[in-house]
């Protein structure tokens, strides 16, 4: 099972946090802990990490002794971190991170860190089409896109019906207002390209 999905940037600021098991202590301490574990590792090390240190924080339901592993991937300024137990295949999770990034990329058309900041709800919706309750729901990028767009369409409709004067201003996915767009960034080409970690 996947216990947590975290995205934080290279300075440790969380951009997305989602826990699938109840956590015992403050999320901030936990994120700091994971950040310190992950950020100290050099690029050529492996993407997996045994994390007995995390057990006091993420205690699974029946108490002691679940072995947790951290699987992470670094894309430009962001770390994508999954905390999983032994029932998951490490490489499978690594692939899943890639699927997540590709889905974000499709939804936001060249996703960047700012998208995750200003569209945090959308990022969560996308995640919820990939993982549900700690288990893999869908891995087909097309299927994920379809579900996300369907939700966006319904939301837009409900928004339009609520604000008849808004002239369809209900946000389509990816329509960032120009003022917020910054060139900060890691483009999707670099993100998903060969050899990206």
């Amino acid at each position: 099972m996947i216990h947590a999905v975290l995205i934080f940037n290279t300075s440790g600021v969380p951009r997305l946090t989602k826990f699938y098991s109840p956590i015992e202590q403050s999320t901030q301490t936990l994120i700091e802990k994971i950040y310190s574990l992950v950020s100290s590792r050099q690029a050529e090390l492996c993407n997996f990490l045994d994390a007995p240190e995390l057990e006091p924080y993420l205690k699974p339901k029946d108490g002691d002794g679940e072995k947790l592993r951290v699987v992470y991937r670094n894309y430009a300024t962001l770390y994508f971190v999954f905390v999983v137990d032994v029932a998951e295949s490490e490489l499978g999770i690594l692939d899943l991170i890639q699927v997540f990034v590709e889905s974000l990329d499709n939804a936001f058309e060249n996703v960047c860190e700012l998208d995750l900041v200003f569209h945090f709800d959308e990022a969560h919706h996308i995640l919820s089409e990939i993982i549900q309750g700690g288990l893999v729901l869908e891995t087909n990028v097309n299927e994920i896109d379809r579900a996300v767009q369907e939700a966006a369409r319904v939301r837009k409709e409900s928004f339009a019906s609520a604000n008849p004067l808004s002239l369809g201003g209900g946000g389509a996915v990816g329509s960032r207002s120009a003022g917020l767009q910054t060139p900060l960034g890691w483009l999707a080409g670099r993100l998903t390209g060969v050899g990206a970690r």
Partner: protein
């Protein structure tokens, strides 16, 4: 969308603009205060609520604790606008945990959304339950979720979510999920054409099958079939190919599911699985330069290797795997090295033959110095798993050397492992003591109490070791700083066995005392107490240093620590007693050996690594159990067959009554209470748990079956949907039964599955030659061949289960007409031969006899044609001219079995027209054959077997 809310955008921008953390916190506090006030004032419209809740969520994501907005989120959920509902659900899943009181308030809204016609609302509700589902929700909503999963009108994206939601509820509250009852319906979804649905339902089955392996046993076949279609047949939609690998996640899950079951006996499945695994391994021989492709392929490969190891550690596949693993552990890719070591540890824990791994010992030891701690950990696990008597000194030596530079996080575990290996594979006691003491002095802080207790136990129980241990520990104590654990071991061992070495130069009592006592001042109270005990022992054996010892006691009589003070007082009094007093001697009697017990170390290690969700059938090296035995969860052969023993059949009673009223027919043996095979259909609760289907009942089912017992071809089952026909051929102990299954409807049958339940696997083998296709087109028929072999005499025919989806999930379970007499071959015997054998076999128990009522034909005569047909249909050769009475039938035959060989069988049937009774006598060299054949023949010959006109139709 968040950006449609200007206030929210502004809030986010402000926080981003905050240069230091204090400013950020200030801004957040201000905003939260504002929101709190707004919420308190009330009167907010949906948009405002949504906006404020979104701000609360954002604050939460930043890692701040938030304690407002719960109630508003609950309100938003029941909004009719999707945009508000969605934010509401997001807030519920993020802000609340499963024990939150607020969740009570949302159960009704969630149920409403679950039952909504709008699928997208169903999805929101399912997702919420899957994330925060509590026990209470499980009770209230499990039925609804299950309905969404199996309803034929559900969209695929709803069914996927429903499957995972059901899993969550099952985990939270297994009692409310009738997992066994739902088993077949749920497993049938594994045949779904949508791979996303299959993936989710496989996750669900992974959990359910672990708890109910027998009820879900059919998933084994489904998993093999699906893997075969993905890997070998390349049958999958292109969109589910992930970097050219067909849906690796599903493959991994299926491969893992197969590890929860013991290897299948079915040769067809074995062959298919073999091919799948072989193909997966071959695929990896062409490395690609695409990282994602490699990742996905390796993910599948590693799981495939694990499965191959699970199936048979000596198979050629595992040899191939070992070669691959060897390549992986020296790979340039760190991920591959890591997983290579991990999987090799699994192999080492399971295999009997470590040679293949030992060849790479050097590489593995080098991995202990890998620059990545993750890899180092795996190397440690592997070394632990692969250690045996031959290489223990080397491996333990390496581990000890590495221990001194190892990461702190690793040390405790290392110490435990070293201690266990040392004890387990010690070749000499000397080596054991040396190693453990070195361990204590090298990593004292990380040595748990268990380790030194164990040393003391072993030294006490091993006479040869005592003097040596005393000497070595004394040497260690002489070094300027020794760890407290070492002082404890020293105190104990010198106290007990110091006198053994006291006569040697350098080990005199006074020297022992000085060395030990010099450590005392750096030690904690419990250690000092232990040292006091040592001293009193010395008072007994070393009278020459008694003054010094008494001096110590005297001083300790006044310390504050109660334990120390009491000991000192008692020991002081004890040591001042007169010389000839025997009390001291008695008190200080040498310690008796400890009773043998399991090493506390293993317990400790096991406790550290109690797996929870994953009950694969192997114990990895890290689980501490180094016994190289196959999986501990391996179940006993499933069936305790006795479920049908208690039923006394009504037929039996009838024949008994008649028998007693008809003494004229010379009944030597009372008839065996007849037990028709139909009594197999038993109270099904226990059967379902074991995965045995309940037999389908129907007016004709038994008749069809009985008829097929003495005819090779015919109808086995028929209803409005399907028809099952049989054609069979037998030769010696083997046979081939062709099962024809036809779909009579104008719609296809999906998730079509055929399985065999054979209760007597040792006596009879029966298996399909291939797996049936999962869809049966309308108005078509398929043929499934069953290969059977009779190894020994058996009683229960195998059960054929045909299940399919046609609207609802349906299963038909009927017995296959495979009985012992099918392996009977007639032999011609002359009268003298026959009587000689008849006599040779003799009466009971090798004779089975019964008397039963028969019915006469229309003309009032015995239906001789039918009788002869039944007898010869069962395989007997009818012998003419042996019995003078022309209506009597005499027959002979040989039963062929593969293991027990040939069994002769003779028959005599004496129908009596006046009494409307018939007597059947069977004599066989095997008691079982005689009684079994008697039962089988009596049924169709008896009065109740004469069917009406319907019977003619089936012919």
């Amino acid at each position: 969308m968040a950006t449609n809310m200007r206030g929210l955008t502004q809030f986010i921008a402000d926080i981003r603009g905050a240069r230091v953390r204090e400013l950020e916190e200030k801004r957040i506090n201000k905003e939260m205060a504002n929101i709190r006030k707004r919420f308190k004032d009330g009167n907010l419209d949906g948009y405002q609520k949504k906006k404020y809740v979104a701000k609360v969520i954002f604050t939460y994501i930043l890692g701040y604790k938030v304690d407002i907005g719960h109630m508003e989120a609950v309100n938003l959920i029941s909004s009719s606008k999707y945009s508000e509902k969605q934010i509401g659900y997001l807030a519920v899943t993020l802000l609340m945990h499963e024990n939150s009181d607020f969740l009570r308030l949302v159960v009704n809204s969630i149920r409403k959304d679950l039952n909504d016609n709008n699928e997208i609302h169903n999805c929101l509700a399912l997702h919420a339950i899957a994330n925060v589902g509590s026990q209470e929700m499980a009770e209230a909503l499990a039925e609804d979720v299950h309905r969404l999963l199996i309803s034929p009108t559900s969209e695929n994206f709803v069914r996927k979510k429903a499957a995972l939601t059901l899993l969550r509820l099952y985990r939270k509250h297994p009692d409310v999920i009738p997992a066994q009852e739902w088993a077949l319906r749920i497993v049938s979804i594994m045949d779904d054409p949508d791979l996303g649905v299959v993936l989710c339902v496989t996750s669900l089955i992974l959990a359910l099958a672990q708890d109910h392996p027998d009820a879900y046993a059919i998933c084994y076949q489904k998993a093999v079939d699906r893997l075969n279609r993905l890997v070998v047949e390349h049958e999958y939609p292109a969109t589910y190919s992930y970097y050219k690998v067909p849906i690796p996640w599903l493959q991994v899950k299926l491969l893992r599911l197969l590890q929860y079951y013991p290897p299948s006996d079915d040769p067809t499945l074995q062959v298919m699985l073999q091919e799948v695994l072989q193909t997966i391994m071959n695929n990896c021989n062409e490395p690609s330069r695409n990282v994602q492709h490699n990742n996905a392929q390796h993910a599948v490969l590693f799981e495939a290797i694990n499965l191959a190891i699970h199936l048979d550690t000596n198979s050629p596949l595992v040899n191939t795997a070992a070669v691959l693993l060897a390549r992986f552990i020296s790979s340039k890719e760190t991920n591959v090295r890591y997983l290579g070591l991990d999987t090799m540890a699994h192999l080492a824990a399971r295999t009997d033959n470590l040679e293949a791994i030992k060849r790479h010992q050097g590489t593995i030891i080098l991995s202990l110095r890998d620059k990545d701690i993750s890899v180092r950990r795996r190397a440690l696990d592997l070394l632990y798993s692969m250690c045996d008597v031959d290489n223990s000194e080397l491996i333990v030596g390496e581990l000890l050397r590495y221990l001194k530079v190892a990461d702190y996080g690793l040390r405790e575990e290392m110490v435990l492992k070293i201690a266990i290996l040392t004890e387990k594979y010690a070749s000499t006691y000397k080596w054991y003591v040396d190693t453990i003491l070195e361990l204590l002095s090298a990593a004292g802080d990380h040595v748990g109490e268990e380790v030194w207790y164990r040393v003391v136990q072993i030294v006490t129980n091993t006479d040869d070791l005592q003097a040596y241990a005393a000497k070595v520990v004394f040497e260690y104590l002489k070094s300027p700083s020794s760890h407290e654990s070492l002082v404890k071991v020293g105190g104990y061992i010198l106290g007990e066995y110091g006198h053994l070495i006291a006569n040697e130069p350098g080990y005199s009592p006074i020297e022992q005392f000085q060395v030990l006592h010099s450590k005392s001042q750096f030690c904690m109270a419990p250690t000092r107490a232990l040292l006091l005990s040592t001293y009193i022992k010395w008072v007994n054996v070393f009278p020459e240093i008694k003054p010094q010892l008494v001096n110590v006691f005297e001083r300790y009589r006044h310390v504050l620590d109660v334990d120390l003070q009491q000991r000192a007082c008692e020991f002081y009094a004890l040591s001042l007693r007169p010389e000839d007093d025997e009390l001291l001697q008695n008190v200080c009697e040498e310690i008796p050996p400890f009773p043998p017990r399991e090493s506390a170390l293993l317990n400790r290690l096991n406790k550290k690594h109690a797996d929870s969700e994953d009950k694969r059938l192997w114990a990895q090296g890290t689980n501490g159990s180094l016994e190289r035995q196959p999986s501990k969860l391996m179940r006993k052969p499933t069936l305790a067959a006795d479920t049908n023993g208690q039923r006394s059949d009504s037929n039996g009673n009838i024949s008994q009554d008649i028998a007693s009223s008809l003494a004229g027919l010379d009944l030597t043996s009372s008839p065996v209470a007849m037990q028709s095979p139909s009594s197999l259909s038993d109270p099904s609760a226990t059967l379902a748990a074991k995965g045995i289907p309940r037999l389908t009942a129907g007016p004709n089912v038994d008749r069809w079956f009985d008829k097929l017992l003495y005819t090779p071809d015919g109808v086995l089952y028929e209803d409005v949907q399907i028809q099952i026909g049989i054609k069979s051929r037998y030769q010696g102990p083997v046979g081939q039964v062709a099962v024809y299954i036809g779909n009579k409807m104008s719609a296809p049958l999906t998730s079509f599955t055929t399985t065999l339940h054979n209760e007597e696997g040792e006596a009879l083998s029966a298996s399909f030659v291939k797996i049936a296709p999962s869809t049966l087109a309308p108005k078509t028929q398929i043929q499934q061949i069953v290969q059977v072999e009779c190894k020994k005499v058996f009683r229960r025919p195998p059960i054929l289960v045909v299940s399919f989806l046609a609207g609802a999930h349906q299963a038909i379970a009927v017995r296959l007409p495979i009985v012992i007499t099918k392996f009977l071959e007639g032999v011609k015997l002359g009268p003298s031969d026959f009587f000689e054998r008849w006599k040779l076999i003799g009466g009971p128990p090798r004779e089975a006899q019964s008397i039963f009522p028969i019915s006469l034909d229309a003309t009032g005569h015995i239906d001789l044609v039918k009788q002869r047909q039944v007898v010869s249909g069962h395989g007997f050769q009818i012998l003419e001219g042996i019995d003078p009475n022309p209506s009597n039938i005499v027959g002979a035959g040989i039963v062929h079995t593969a293991v027990e060989g040939k069994v002769g069988c003779l028959l005599r049937l004496e129908p009596n027209r006046e009494a409307k009774l018939s007597r059947i006598t069977l004599r066989s060299t095997s008691e079982e054959v005689a009684s079994e054949a008697q039962k089988l023949l009596q049924k169709p010959l008896g009065a109740d077997a004469n069917g009406g006109p319907a019977e003619k139709r089936t012919l």
